[in-house]
Each structure stands twice: as C-alpha cells, then as structure tokens.
Symmetry: C2
Subunit: 231 residues, 2 copies
Amino acid sequence: MPNETLHTVHSYEQELEHLRLLVNKMGGLAERQVAQAIIAVVDHDEAAALDAPEMDPQVDELERETEALVIRLLALRAPMAGDLREVVAALKISGDLERIGDCAASIARRAMRSELLSCPISVTGLRSMGRLVQDNLRRTIDAMDQRDPELARIVWQSDTAVDELYTAMFRELVTYMMEDPRNIGPCTHLLFIAKNLERIGDHATNISERVYYAVTGHILPIVRPRGGTFD
Amino acid sequence: MPNETLHTVHSYEQELEHLRLLVNKMGGLAERQVAQAIIAVVDHDEAAALDAPEMDPQVDELERETEALVIRLLALRAPMAGDLREVVAALKISGDLERIGDCAASIARRAMRSELLSCPISVTGLRSMGRLVQDNLRRTIDAMDQRDPELARIVWQSDTAVDELYTAMFRELVTYMMEDPRNIGPCTHLLFIAKNLERIGDHATNISERVYYAVTGHILPIVRPRGGTFD
C-alpha cells in the first residue's frame, strides 16, 4: 500500500512536470513565431514570413494537449492550493500563448503583401516596438519558467512603453498616409502590424498576471498602468 | 450521515448553478456592451458610447468571481466528466466574454472621436456587420444557456459571413482614403472598429466551440471555415 501511494505521488509530480513542459514548449514556439514575424516585417524576409504561420498547427496542438492534461490532472489528481492555481494558470496561459502565435502569424502574413514589399516607409518604429515586445515576452516566459513573481510584476509594468510606442506609430503612419495616397495601402497594413505587436504585449502582461497569482496567491492591482490613448 | 451527503450534493448543485448564473450574467453584459457600442458608431450616440466602457469594471469583477468559484469548485467538489468539462468551459468562456467587452469598449471609445463624428463616410457596411455579429453573439449565448450543441455548431459556422463583410469593408475604407486625404483619420478608426467587430465574432466562435465540447465531449473540426483573406 505505501508503495502504491508513492507511485501515485510520483506520477502526479510527473504529470505536473509534463504540464510545465508543455506550456514551456508553447512559450518557446510563441517566442520564435514573434521573432520570425518581426524579421519578416523589418527585413522583408520571406523564409521568416512563412515560418510563423507554419508553426500555428503545432501551437494549436500543444494547446489542446495542455487542456487535455489539465482536465486529466483535475479529474484524477485533485490538485490543491498552489498546485491547483498552477494548473488553472497553465490552462489560461496556454490560451494567451496561442493568441500570441495568432498575432505573430497575422504579422508575418501581412509582411509579405506586395504593398509592403515595395513600401518606401521606414520601419524604424516597428523595429523598436518589435524589440521591446520580444524582450517583454522573453522575460514573461522566463518568469513563468522560473516561477518568479517579482520578474512577472516588472514585465507586467513595462508594457506601458509598448503602448506609448504604438500610439506614436499610429500617429506617424496616419501622417504618411496624408502625405501621399500611395502610402495608404502599405500603411494600413503597418497599422495592423503595430496593433498586433501591441496585442502580443497585452497577452504577455496577461501571462505575467497569471504567473504572479499562481505563485503568490495574490492578484496584481486591477488597473495596469497604460501608456497612450489609442486602443 | 445521509443528510450530510444530501446537503453536500445539494450545495454542489447550487454552486454549479451559481457558476452558470455568473457566466450567464457576463454573457448578458457582453451582449449589451456590443449593442451599445454599435449604436454609438452607427447613430453617433454619446450616451451609448459611454455605456460600454462603463460596464467594463463590472465584467472584470464577474470574470474574477467566476474564476474564484471555478477554483473553489475544483478544489472542494472535484467535479467529474460532463460537470468537469462544464466548469473548465466556464473559465475559458468568461475569458472570451471579457475580451468581447474589451472590444466593445474600444469600439465605443473610438465612436466618439471628433474625426468620426464629423465623418462623411457612410457606415452601412458597419451596420450590417454589427447586426450579424450581434446576432451571432446572441445565438452563441443562447446555445450556452440552453447547453445546445447543435445551435453552437450552427453559430460557429456562420462566422464566415462576418469575415467576408470585414474583408469587403477593409477594401471599401481603403478606397475612401485614396479618394480624399481628409477621410484618412476617420477611416483608420473605422478600420479598427471593423476589426474589433470581427474579433467579437471570433470570440463568439471560441465560445461556441467550448459549448459544443462541454456538452458533447467532442471537439469541432480544428479548422473553422473562414471567409476573406485579411486577418
């Protein structure tokens, strides 16, 4: 009988570890999708542009696996307290990671549109925004992997800078469109690319909130500091 | 002892019923937010525009309540099979409903921007798109309340028409911008309003998928039929 208990505890830990592995793998893929999407836009790199959408089915599959494992863990293992919070967080985080992948795929698909390839508009703003979003996402995933609530809180706060860059880009792109109607086509796509980057930032803050709650049992303040006014 | 069991069973059912009530209430609020946001845009109605963002804190609070109850139910009641699927679905659905509210609030805030109030662009396309999205959302929430998988499947399929209207609107708005640079400001806002409507449609299809799975235990095909090509 003690052996059986030991066995159960052991495989419960294994299942929890497997859940962490799945979410971690999703995080890695989402990071790669975002990186490739940004390369696709700023360097007009076709191979990178194909990469992000191609990873989508794998991310979707991992999300389904995560959910199936969460349901299994809840049904058969009845995790408590911190474990329960972690399992529920995994479910929510996998949803955010999947949406980050969607945003990246959408950016990558737009990056290869003919209007953008022949576009004279400088993408400096996008480059800075992309760098910041990537950096926040990486640190969010680090906070998740290391279960570090302090890092999660710091990343959560730093999304303000992404919002500010987005607002600046929005204004800048509208100005380009006003200057020359030939800019309208590419700039509308750039607007949506910027919006998708901003949304990736938002999903990263959602993940940070989840990590903070899962580890500490406390929720971050309801209203996150926001930069800019466009939404 | 039998009394205690009865009592436990009774209050488990009560808690499950309370969970349904919470999600149902969120669904009602999300529907109202979307309705008011559409009125704000198509009728330039200021009172309606203020309504949708004002409801946001209430929706957020309901999402937190839902999550707290889900964790409580999972920890103390260990629901099984169909109940477990329903509890997990409630968690995911509340997330989609909260995001629908965010999209509606974003639409409402844009609706009152001065560029849009003085805008000569006809909003016929938005009106049709708004009607369709509202209709799909209402039927999704009906499917959820009545736990009707067939209705969920039908609504899930009908989002294709929303995608098609969105693509048509995108093209139309770009044309207006080309015609007259004074249209650029209002049209960029209209583009994002249309995008938010399309996203509300996407969240409604996510909810339909959840309802279908929670009730039947089967998942809908992975790739949903999509209309149009812009994303």
